[in-house]
Subunit: 344 residues, 2 copies
DNA sequence: CTGAAAGCGCTTACAG
DNA sequence: CTGAAAGCGCTTACAG
């Protein structure tokens, strides 16, 4: 029975008896304390191995008042961006001896709330959080916000260089001669949604290009392909539709491309398209997509490092805001011709 | 300071004092025990709220000897299949009051080993495990294996209907008139690698179709696109190359398609291709890919349910092996023409 | 209906 | 170099 199995697990006391020492000594020996003689240490270790002893971290955490745990909370673990950030973060966290608790909130505030509470009750040392919507939770734990920022909160904030990215995208389209550029973005309720939209507007403004209001279409809060598709359909239905589209995420781009295709358009001939976020296998799409690579893994490493720093330096300081760089990957959905090796 | 913040958290004792009751009563009141009067209960709750009390789960777990925690361990959280299984599992687990700890082992046995040990030390109630390579760890925790099976081990084993899936794929290619069918698969070191290869061979055998040895190419253990690409290149370099390819995963298919394109081939005209696993946006690829949808979310729900069942029924029983169904999604990489709505 | 006491399995001052 | 004792923050028989 599970319960029996559980209670049958050997404890430190069992190890101590087996090694004929006190629990204190057993504990120290297992920690490799220099205060314990080599003979005793090895005797304890042998005993532990013989019994198949596995320390109870729960007891240890209670006593030391540290769980050595960091929580990572994201809106949707299935989105490539988030899973890559998680990997990067997990990598540095585990190297430092922390264990990681990953949670996906499915973009609902209620689940996010519940998750944060649970993590807090588990006494995690810190949290990496890409919050969904406005964050108004009273967390007693150091948190670094990423992707969706909460200015002046937490120990740090990390996001992509959204405006710079938009500038890259718009500039490239303009270099192809486009002046009627449409925008398909996430709603302005998140940092990315807001900043990318602003960046788009500013980049057009700086070039004195017209932006009819209908050229800007915002999709659903999940930035879903379906939302990107409807937005594209809207744009295409305009009396004077744009000749080029900027999309503020790969998910949106994919839906938009599908909608354009279903409307009988061929990219990039009939319509150019470029996107924030480089989707996996962007070069295998029809056409290969010109997009912004964001080095998500690095963002995870960075967020984790900032948290670690705060955990070490117990001092409360001004929260830092960090931006991670983006890079334009030119393929052919923008109108550039794809370079293919000649057939054999 | 973090340490101060931590120690400043109110405890149950603080709540008890505030509510002028004993700790026992406070504890019971917070649990909603019927043994406590309504007045007292609400007095305690008010006190708890006033103090911003958050129960310490570590202490609770130590006392009750249950962490209410389930671990989910996968080779790579970035793979769509795994993240979908996780979501399905998490969904049913959280509804039942368990919290979920997700870990990605990056396909290394050492990390898997370390992760399992950590989970065990955290006294998780159970584990859902998609193991990397041979599993030889002495786990004292109920585990249900999924994707990569360990027959007669754990409380249950769940996998996709691999052979049936291969039969669907091969049959479809044959219905297009193909008889020279190549195979690009993962190595036979995992359940999926092994069973899909067998299924492929059996499906061909049942039709008395030749399978020259060189028609079967196995990629790397990560089933990477790069591996799929090299395999395709091998196949294409043959004196009499196959006219159709079956790929045993979406990742492999993507790499294979890229390689075929770089070799100057056009799918499906020059070469047909079908794949196990339906990649996200398979319909946006060039060409849209014919593939097997596997209902991964459901597999997660199933695995979680089986674990829950074992956790309830403390009895040790014969481990069950369950297969989840697959479904062929016909698009056009197989040679079927894609049906498009007429342009407006 | 409420409380005092024991104990979950560790770690760590404090003594020696 | 080793040990006895206290305590982390809860829950739960046991009493009343």
């Amino acid at each position: 029975m599970a319960a029996d199995r559980q209670s049958a697990l050997p404890t430190l006391a069992d190890v101590a008896v087996e090694a004929r020492v006190s629990a204190s000594t057993a504990s120290r020996a297992l920690q490799g304390s220099p205060r314990i003689s080599a003979v005793t240490t090895s005797r304890v270790r042998v005993a532990a191995r013989r019994l198949g002893y596995q320390p109870n971290r729960i007891a240890r955490s209670l006593r030391t008042r540290s769980a050595d745990l960091v929580g990572i909370v994201v809106p949707d673990i299935g989105i490539g961006f988030y899973s890559r950030v998680i990997k990067g973060a997990q990598d540095v966290l585990e190297k430092t001896g922390y264990h990681v608790l990953v949670a996906s909130t499915e973009r609902t505030e209620a689940r996010e709330h519940a998750t944060l509470r649970t993590l807090s009750e588990h006494r995690v040392n810190g949290i990496l959080l890409a919050t969904t919507g406005r964050f108004d939770f009273d967390l007693r734990v150091p948190v670094v916000f990423f992707d969706n920022l909460v200015p002046h909160a937490g120990v740090a904030n990390v996001a992509r260089a959204n405006k710079e990215g938009m500038e890259l995208l718009v500039a490239h389209l303009v270099s192809h001669g486009h002046s009627k550029i449409g925008y398909i973005g996430g709603p302005a309720t998140s940092t990315s949604g807001r900043e990318r939209l602003q960046g788009f507007a500013e980049s057009l403004g700086a070039r004195r290009l017209e932006t009819p209001e209908e050229y800007v279409q915002l999709a659903d809060a999940a930035w879903s392909p379906a939302g990107g598709g409807s937005a594209m359909t809207q744009l295409l239905g305009l009396r004077a539709p744009p000749t080029a589209i900027v999309t503020s995420s790969d998910t949106l781009a994919l839906g938009a491309m599908r909608a354009a295709r279903q409307a009988g358009l061929r990219l990039p001939n009939d319509l150019a398209l470029v996107s924030f976020d480089d989707p996996a296998f962007g070069e295998l799409l029809d056409p290969p997509i010109t997009a912004l690579a964001c080095n998500d893994w690095h963002m995870g490493e960075l967020a984790a490092s900032l948290l670690l720093h705060a955990l070490d330096n117990h001092a409360v300081r001004q929260p830092t805001e960090v931006r991670t760089p983006v890079e334009l990957i030119v393929r052919s959905s923008c109108g550039c011709s794809e370079v293919l090796p000649a057939p054999p």
